[in-house]
């Protein structure tokens, strides 16, 4: 999974994709995950950080990360590979 490195993420969750001109908002967990992804962390790293910080079990986390990544893909912010 590769993130589009040209996207800009602000601290309060505003995301701008300069290639498509699209902008987005993230909720708090979304900001944290996308920022980690942009900084080069692997999915396993991300899972570890989130599981450490939040009250969430592995299956639920897996379920909603999959959901979030498919949203990111749908919006051309990440690509497979």
């Amino acid at each position: 999974m590769k993130i589009n490195q040209s996207i800009a993420i602000s601290e309060n969750g505003f995301v701008f994709n300069p290639i498509t001109g699209d902008s987005f908002t993230l909720n708090n967990t979304g900001i944290q995950i996308l920022t980690m992804l942009k900084s080069g962390k692997t999915i396993d790293d991300i899972k570890e950080v989130i599981a450490e910080e939040y009250d969430v079990d592995d299956l639920v986390l897996e379920r909603y990360l999959q959901d979030f990544f498919s949203d990111l893909k749908l919006n051309s912010l990440i690509t497979e590979g």
């Binding site: 908002t25 979304g30 909603y64």
Partner: protein, 449 residues
């Protein structure tokens, strides 16, 4: 260190230009408590989904309604509309507050009697009364509101055959300047049919004309319609006094006051558009007082208000079963409250709130019920926080019509609880079991092996 609550991560595309139909700045506050009790705890104790009624809200609503009318008019009587919600506990709260019963079938009549309401405090409406029901109502002194000429003739025959006298009123339909114009119930005012019915009643010594009744429609958002209706009924009452020297005891204005629910397709929220009880009271009482009726002969005003005094006392709480993304990118929630339990979701954009705080970011969401039927849509589109599976929500203002029109369809129906004025909870209708459903069925011998 205590861990933080995990909110499902979301990303929402921003659309430049005009705001969407949801406008901007929508906030969905959590509803954590009902009458001081935590909704999540109630769901834990009584199961999900769960209907929750507030006795305090019911009592306040009926008191507010009465207050609005009694400060303007000397004689006012409320009759609880059984078809709006005929759970016995709910009816008994209204009866404790002094309401009579307004029923529209033999079944509802029996329910009212079982709730301890005397016949002389029952208003019997409806177009489908049977001979046996009419006889019982006449013998018990109920007010029989005659809907059509066939019922008038049937009642006359019943009274003659059994040598009883019936206390009656006629239901009058009329043009009050609104659409749709209801003319299927009762006798028409404008074409003289109502007068024809009155003449026939007055000519029959076994029929005592006690009142005049109208029910102009439902969810009426203009008080002027009631002003016109009250004015026309008052004219009729004054004419009866003039012609027969007979003074009717009451004018029954029916129901139809709007609740604060938002109708599907309405541009503005029901919270902004619903009239107050004072608006309706002002229109109705001033029309009667300003009519030709003599001040010492003013009739009692009877109100059959249902929806407006029970809707916001009822809530249904439920649980998210699944999250989905639809092919057009919208989010969908599948929840355990379907149209089988929430019939009014066909009419209203019900207010739905999560039971826990969230980050504030909302997604356009479709809320589906759990039924395997395409019609099972609770909200086709609303801005809603990203709830996870197992999280809870409350749908408010569900007190009217749902517990009378709900369907035993695909699955059984859940517990209904009442929170009393001391914040104690009581199950007022137990969750159905499969035994409840199959106990009325029978299997022929050749199919039983």
């Amino acid at each position: 260190m205590e861990k933080k609550i995990f909110e499902r991560p979301t990303i929402t595309r921003l659309t430049p230009g005009m705001p969407s139909k949801h406008g901007v700045g929508t906030a969905v506050a959590p509803v954590q408590f009902i009458d001081g009790l935590k909704v999540d705890d109630l769901l834990e104790k009584y199961g999900s989904p769960l209907y929750i009624f507030s006795e305090s809200v019911i009592r306040k609503n009926i008191q507010d309604l009465k207050q609005a009318f009694t400060v303007r008019y000397p004689k006012v009587q409320v009759a609880w509309s059984y078809k709006t919600n005929y759970l016995d506990a709910i009816c008994r709260i209204f009866h404790q507050e002094g309401s009579w019963a307004e029923v529209v079938s033999g079944f509802e009549y029996e329910k009212a009697r079982l709730n301890g309401v005397q016949g002389e405090h029952i208003i019997f409406n409806g177009p489908g009364k049977t001979e046996a029901e009419l006889l019982k109502a006449a013998q018990e002194g109920a007010y029989i509101h005659i809907d059509h000429f066939d019922e008038l003739f049937l009642l006359a025959r019943v009274c003659q055959k059994n040598d009883v006298t019936a206390r009656v009123a006629i239901r009058v339909n009329m043009d009050v300047g609104i659409y749709p114009k209801w003319d299927r119930f009762g006798f028409n005012y404008e074409n003289g049919e109502a007068w024809d019915a009155i003449n026939r009643i007055m000519a029959n010594p076994q029929l005592k004309l006690m009142g005049l009744h109208t029910h102009i429609g439902t969810y009426i958002m203009t008080a002027d319609a009631y002003r016109i209706a009250a004015s026309k009924l008052s004219e009729l009452a004054a004419s009866i006094a003039q012609k027969f020297n007979h003074f009717i005891a009451y004018i029954d204005m029916g129901g139809g006051f709007a609740s604060r629910n938002t109708l599907r397709g309405a541009y503005l929220s029901g919270e902004d558009t619903a009239l107050s009880f004072d608006d309706y009271a002002d229109a109705i009482t001033s029309a009667v007082i300003n009519s030709q009726i003599k001040p010492d002969k003013l009739p009692t005003i009877i109100l059959e208000t249902g929806r407006a005094i029970i809707d916001d006392a009822g809530n249904i709480a439920g649980t998210v079963i699944a999250n989905k993304r639809l092919t057009d990118g919208r989010r969908a929630l599948i929840v355990d409250v379907g149209v089988n339990l929430l019939f009014t979701s066909f009419w209203y954009d019900h207010k739905i709130n999560p039971t826990q705080p969230h980050s504030g970011l909302l997604e356009e969401t479709v809320i589906y019920g759990p039924l395997c039927m395409n019609i099972d849509v609770i909200r086709p589109s609303l801005m809603f926080p990203p709830l996870k599976v197992g999280e809870h929500f409350v749908i408010s203002r569900t007190g009217a019509y749902n517990n009378t029109q709900w369907m035993q369809f695909i699955t059984t129906r859940p517990n209904i609880i009442l929170i009393d004025t001391d914040r104690q909870t009581h199950v007022i209708r137990k969750a159905e079991t499969i035994d409840n459903i199959v106990s009325n069925e029978s299997v022929p011998d050749h199919l039983s092996k």
